[in-house]
Amino acid sequence: MSRFIFSFVIFFLIWLGFTSTFHYQEVITGALLSLVLASLSYKSFTERGLFYLSPKRLFYILKYLAVFLIALVKANFDVAKRVINPKLPINPGIVTYHTTLKSDTAKMFLANSITLTPGTLTVDIIDDKLYIHWIDVKSEDPEVIYSEIGKDFEVILKEIFK
């Protein structure tokens, strides 16, 4: 039931965003459509439902968004710096990153965030290992890899998916 309500809320919010109006006809149509869609797809849409909407998690999700946006802007300046420099200062390689996250959704978010942060690109996830193409390999020591690449995200994701 909690999964069903969660899917309904998300679908309805997307509908409201795309129609951008509170006219009663639009709202009723959207509610009906969201009900139908949610009843058809809630099983594959979410695993834990309303679990994600507790105030503490919403706070961590906002914090995560802030950290993520800062990292994204930094990543772009990093790329710009490398691209403009005539010497092209890169030292690429693929390194293994060990994650302690358990849930698949959490791993997906970690991998996506790592792709969008400075100099790293997730190539594959196998169990708890992420294979990461790093454009400027500083060290092959797992500790350094952990703190350089994904520590900030992993700490917050652990709180969200606990």
Partner: protein, 112 residues
């Protein structure tokens, strides 16, 4: 008025990053480094441009925010799929120093 200025700045910044991304694709030595430049620059470039349009046309802001969320989720996934696909078809990453490729072990095991 202020919305207009913010919108124009966002669109300009977005296009500058998109241009730098294109330059990165042109200059980088191999598929993976190119994907690096491509993914990051197009993600922020597209986000910034789309949200800038939302500021210029305030009645579109919710739609543009939704589009931005979809781009932010789908862009890294597509680049991961491209990188993994290229590795599986046998493209080796460019390296200045040999032996920095930990993904090669996985490939070997799968071939056995």
């Amino acid at each position: 008025m202020i919305l207009n200025i913010v919108g124009n700045i966002l669109v300009t910044v977005g296009t500058v990053f998109l241009f730098l991304g294109a330059l990165g694709i042109f200059r980088m030595p191999d598929v993976y480094s190119r994907l690096q430049a491509g993914t990051k620059a197009t993600t922020l470039g597209a986000l910034s441009t789309v949200i800038g349009v939302g500021f210029l046309q305030p009645e579109w802001i919710w739609k543009t925010l939704l589009i931005a969320i979809f781009i932010a989720i789908s862009n890294p996934i597509s680049s991961h799929a491209l990188a993994r696909g290229s590795y599986k078809t046998g493209l080796k990453p460019y390296m200045k120093k040999e032996g920095l490729d930990s993904y090669a072990e996985v490939e070997k095991e799968e071939v056995k």
